[in-house]
C-alpha cells in the first residue's frame, strides 16, 4: 500500500510551504524546515530562515539521525550544552539564534496527532494535519457524542411493541430495523445530526489544533471570527458572527420541529 512517496510529496510542495511558515510562527522559531529522507539521501523539501541549502543540509544530518532514533517528538532543552549538538553551526551560533531550543519531528506532521495519524501517514501516505479533511475529522469527533446520544434516544423511543409485532409477522431482524425501527426513529436521528452540525460549526479548539488556521484552506468560520477580532477587523467579525448565529438558530428551530410528536390524533 505504500505509495510513491516522492511523486506524492512533490505534489504537496505548496502545502509544505504553508506548514513551515505556520510552524515557524507557532514555535517562534527562526528556522523551520521539512526534510525528506530516503535511502540515506537527505532532500530539503522546503524551509524558512535558511541561507545556503547545501551547508544547511550538511549540518542537519546529525539532527535527523537523532530524531529518527527517538519515537516521539524530540525536544532538546538547550542545544548549546547538549552533547549531541554542541558545536553544530546551526545551534551554537548565538548571534543568529536567540533561543537555543531545538524541536525536531521526523514526520511532516510535526509530531502532532498521535499514533493513528502517524500510522495513516506511514501506511497510506494520508496526511491529515493542516488539511481541510483534518478539520472535518476533528469536528466530527467533537460532535459525535451529541449525535450518538440523540440517535440512541431516538431508537429507545421506538415502542418495542412495533418491533415485536413485526417479528411475529415473520419479518427478519434486518427487515424489522429497516421497515419499522428506522422509519419511527429517523426524525430523532436527523434532529440530533443537525444539532451535531451546529456544534461542529462552532468548533474551535480541536480544529485549530489539527487543521491549523490557513486562510482559504483550513480556516473555519469560528476560527475566522477569532482571527478577525485579533486583527481588529471588527466589521468582518460582526458579519461572520451574524452568519453563524443565523445558521445555528435555523438549525435549532428545524430540529425542534422534527422532534415534535408526529402521530398524534
Amino acid at each position: 500500500m505504500r505509495r510513491d512517496r516522492l511523486g506524492f510529496l512533490s505534489a504537496m510542495v505548496r502545502t509544505y510551504d504553508d506548514i513551515v511558515t505556520l510552524a515557524a510562527h507557532i514555535f517562534e522559531a527562526p528556522i523551520a524546515a521539512i526534510l525528506h529522507i530516503e535511502n540515506e539521501e537527505h532532500n530539503l523539501k522546503t524551509a524558512v530562515g535558511v541561507r545556503g541549502a547545501e551547508s544547511f543540509l550538511l549540518n542537519t544530518r546529525r539532527f535527523c539521525d537523532e530524531t529518527m532514533a527517538e519515537p516521539d517528538v524530540m525536544v532538546v532543552e538547550d542545544t548549546v550544552c547538549d552533547e549531541r549538538f554542541a558545536g553544530n553551526p546551526l545551534t551554537s551560533d548565538l548571534k543568529r539564534y536567540e533561543r537555543n531550543v531545538a524541536l525536531v519531528a521526523h514526520d511532516p506532521t510535526l509530531g502532532i496527532g498521535g499514533p493513528t495519524v502517524a500510522w495513516l501517514d506511514a501506511a497510506f501516505g494520508i496526511t491529515l494535519i493542516f488539511t481541510w479533511q483534518g478539520a472535518v475529522i476533528a469536528s466530527t469527533l467533537v460532535a459525535f457524542p451529541l449525535v450518538y446520544k440523540a440517535a440512541a434516544t431516538a431508537f429507545e423511543g421506538v415502542d418495542q411493541q412495533f418491533e415485536q409485532v413485526a417479528r411475529v409477522l415473520g419479518k427478519s431482524e434486518w427487515a424489522v430495523f429497516l421497515r419499522v425501527t428506522l422509519p419511527l426513529a429517523w426524525r430523532g436521528i436527523l434532529a440530533g445530526s443537525m444539532l451535531g452540525f451546529a456544534r461542529a460549526l462552532g468548533e474551535f479548539g480541536a480544529t485549530l489544533m489539527v487543521a491549523g488556521n490557513i486562510p482559504g484552506r483550513t480556516q473555519t468560520l469560528s476560527i475566522a471570527i477569532y482571527d478577525a477580532v485579533e486583527a481588529g477587523r471588527d466589521e468582518v467579525a460582526n458579519f461572520l458572527v451574524i452568519v453563524t448565529s443565523v445558521v445555528c438558530i435555523t438549525i435549532l428551530v428545524a430540529s425542534g420541529k422534527l422532534l415534535k410528536p408526529r402521530y398524534a390524533g
Binding site: 415485536q164 409485532v165 417479528r167 411475529v168 409477522l169 415473520g170 427478519s172 429497516l178 408526529r262 402521530y263
Partner: protein
C-alpha cells in the same frame, strides 16, 4: 388442530415475583383464556407467540413443536407462523392501512406493496370492508376499523393459529357486540383456530367453545362450552359458568390484584 401448552417461568418486577405455571390443551375453533389482570394470560400468549422465552415447558401447535425446553427447541417468533393481534392492534403509525397489511408478505426493501402482493392486500381489505381506507393512516380511522386492519395484517400470512390479546378492550361497549360477531365470521371465513384472552365474561359467553380459567399464574379449570350441559375437565357438569365468572371477577377486581408491568427473568 390441537394446541398443547405447558409453560413454566418466573416473571419479576421491582415489587414482586410472579410464578407462571400453566398447562392446557385445546382443539376447538375458538378457545378463550379467561382471567383477571395479572393472572398470567398475556404472558402465556406471548410465550406461544415466541415473544417470551419460558424457563421450561413445551408448546406444540398443530403437531409442530415451537418450544421444548427438554430438547432445546425455541423457534424464533418470525418462524412460528403464529398470528398475534395486540390489544391496541399495534398498527405501524408510519404506514398506511395498505402498507400495514402488505408488510408481512412484502420483500424487505419495499414499503409500497409489491405487484403480486397488492392484489392480495386489496382482496383482503375488501373482505374486511375497509378497501376505501387503504390510503389512510392508522390514526385517521376508528377503533373497529383498526381491529379489522390488525386482523387483515395478521391473516395475510395464513397463520396456523390466531392469538388475540383482549381484542375488544380498546373498543366501546356497543361496538364490542358487533366486533365479536365479526370475529366469529372471520373465524368461519378463514378457518383459522383462535385463542382469545380476555377478562370480560361477555367475551366468554359470545365466543368460547373451550374455556381455560387462569388464576394467579395457574390453570384453575378448563370447561368445554360447546353446548349445554357444560362439563369441566373431570366430566362434572358446570352450571352458570358465565355468571360465576362475572361474580369472581368482580370480587378479584376489588381485591389486591397488582397490575405492575412484569418482565421475564432471563
Amino acid at each position: 388442530m390441537r394446541i398443547e401448552v405447558s409453560v413454566r417461568t418466573t416473571l419479576r418486577s421491582k415489587a414482586r415475583e410472579f410464578r407462571l405455571d400453566v398447562e392446557f390443551t385445546c382443539q376447538d375453533d375458538v378457545s378463550v383464556m379467561f382471567g383477571a389482570s395479572g393472572s398470567g394470560k398475556s404472558a402465556t400468549l406471548r410465550a406461544i407467540a415466541g415473544l417470551e422465552h419460558p424457563d421450561s415447558g413445551r408448546i406444540v401447535v398443530d403437531g409442530r413443536v415451537l418450544f421444548d425446553s427438554a430438547r432445546g427447541i425455541d423457534v424464533p417468533a418470525r418462524m412460528r407462523s403464529v398470528g398475534y393481534v395486540f390489544q391496541d392492534y399495534a398498527l405501524f403509525p408510519h404506514l398506511t392501512v395498505e402498507e400495514n397489511v402488505a408488510l408481512p408478505v412484502n420483500p424487505w426493501w419495499r414499503r409500497r406493496p409489491a405487484r403480486d402482493v397488492a392484489k392480495r392486500v386489496r382482496d383482503l381489505l375488501d373482505i374486511f370492508e375497509i378497501g376505501n381506507l387503504s390510503q389512510s393512516y392508522p390514526w385517521q380511522i376508528s377503533g373497529g376499523q383498526r381491529q379489522r386492519v390488525g386482523l387483515a395484517r395478521t391473516l395475510i400470512r395464513k397463520p396456523a393459529i390466531l392469538l388475540l390479546d383482549e381484542p375488544f378492550a380498546a373498543l366501546d361497549p356497543l361496538l364490542r357486540i358487533r366486533m365479536r360477531q365479526e370475529l366469529l365470521n372471520t373465524q368461519w371465513l378463514f378457518k383459522v383456530p383462535m385463542l382469545v384472552i380476555t377478562h370480560d365474561p361477555q367475551d366468554v359467553a359470545a365466543l368460547a367453545e373451550n374455556l381455560v380459567v387462569l388464576r394467579r399464574g395457574r390453570v384453575e379449570r378448563t370447561v368445554d362450552l360447546k353446548g349445554p350441559p357444560y362439563r369441566d375437565e373431570k366430566g362434572i357438569p358446570v352450571r352458570g359458568v358465565i355468571r360465576q365468572l362475572l361474580m369472581e371477577t368482580s370480587v378479584e377486581s376489588n381485591g389486591t390484584q397488582e397490575q405492575l408491568p412484569l418482565r421475564a427473568v432471563r
